[in-house]
Homo-oligomer: 206 residues x 2
Amino acid sequence: MFDTCVMLNAAKLVLLFASLAFAISGLRPGLAANAVPQETPQYTSDGQLKFPEQYRTWVFLSAGMDMSYAGDAQTGNMHMFENVFVNAAAYESFQKTGTWPDKTTLVTEFRDAQGKGSINKHGRFQTDLMGYDVHVKDAKRFPGKWGFFGFNPGSKSSALIPATAACYTCHADHAAVDTTFVQFYPTLLPIAKRKGTLSSAYKKEN
Amino acid sequence: MFDTCVMLNAAKLVLLFASLAFAISGLRPGLAANAVPQETPQYTSDGQLKFPEQYRTWVFLSAGMDMSYAGDAQTGNMHMFENVFVNAAAYESFQKTGTWPDKTTLVTEFRDAQGKGSINKHGRFQTDLMGYDVHVKDAKRFPGKWGFFGFNPGSKSSALIPATAACYTCHADHAAVDTTFVQFYPTLLPIAKRKGTLSSAYKKEN
């Protein structure tokens, strides 16, 4: 239910992503003990993307709250954070080039935004997991180089969201770098500016 | 200006942290190329904590927005995110033990929370860096095992916040695990519950 396109259609939080992992990369030494590193996208025999279980130790790009493309979005009592992670090799590559290499995987995690709780009396903090969007760059596999996938909590694999879905055109038309919303990742945007990798669509809008 | 205690006194976003790094740990392979890993706390000759420059590639614990201990907090037009990171070795240790090893370093990064911008018309996303709080566990150095430090953007080192400051007592009295606010880190709280490492102060309050 929390895939990008559904959310787009529902005028809900969106802002997806993409990234890719060099084949040789691995987790940090301290984290490799109990898991096979999964830095490059993995697929089932029928072409579904396997959920990148290690994403919580990937590099954090940014978090937003209640973001929406719709000016009249009514969230009522429902509030949500979105945290964006990218595999480490793709992050490192972006530092050097200002754009994403093939096999980049960006994971957006959605969590409930709780208000009062423990000593917190104002603002919001993160609690229950609500779902994921995953944006994968795999040029040989996807006609537009990138594919979108939605996962519910606990889902092990997910089918590609069709290339006709709104997420693809929205990302193509508005995202700052290579169909990814780098304008919302404050440590990456200055790099893209320096490297001259901002999309013409983004430059026109800004 | 953005150290924990100042923010506490100002009834502003707070919720700090601590963590520590094993001596042997390093950055992820992909990130080690252009930087000396700084996973364990480093100090100047006069005892100031050096800013942990690599923190953005550490493990993300959670983000909050406009969090405050004060029920009547008035933030007006000023909104802020706080992102919390911990060094990888401490994170790995927490997975096994439910608590923090010596040399844990927790970094809270404060960023401006912007509303409208690019295609975003609702909710908020992160922009300018505003400052940091750093919480370090170094049992031989600090009488209470943990020390708090505040950094402005670009600061290279910072003096210890005196142990008489309110942050120390607040963390001791309300934090879920070893004086750190694990109740606000949704991937760590279940581990602490399983491992039985929740503080008696926290259990009494919840």
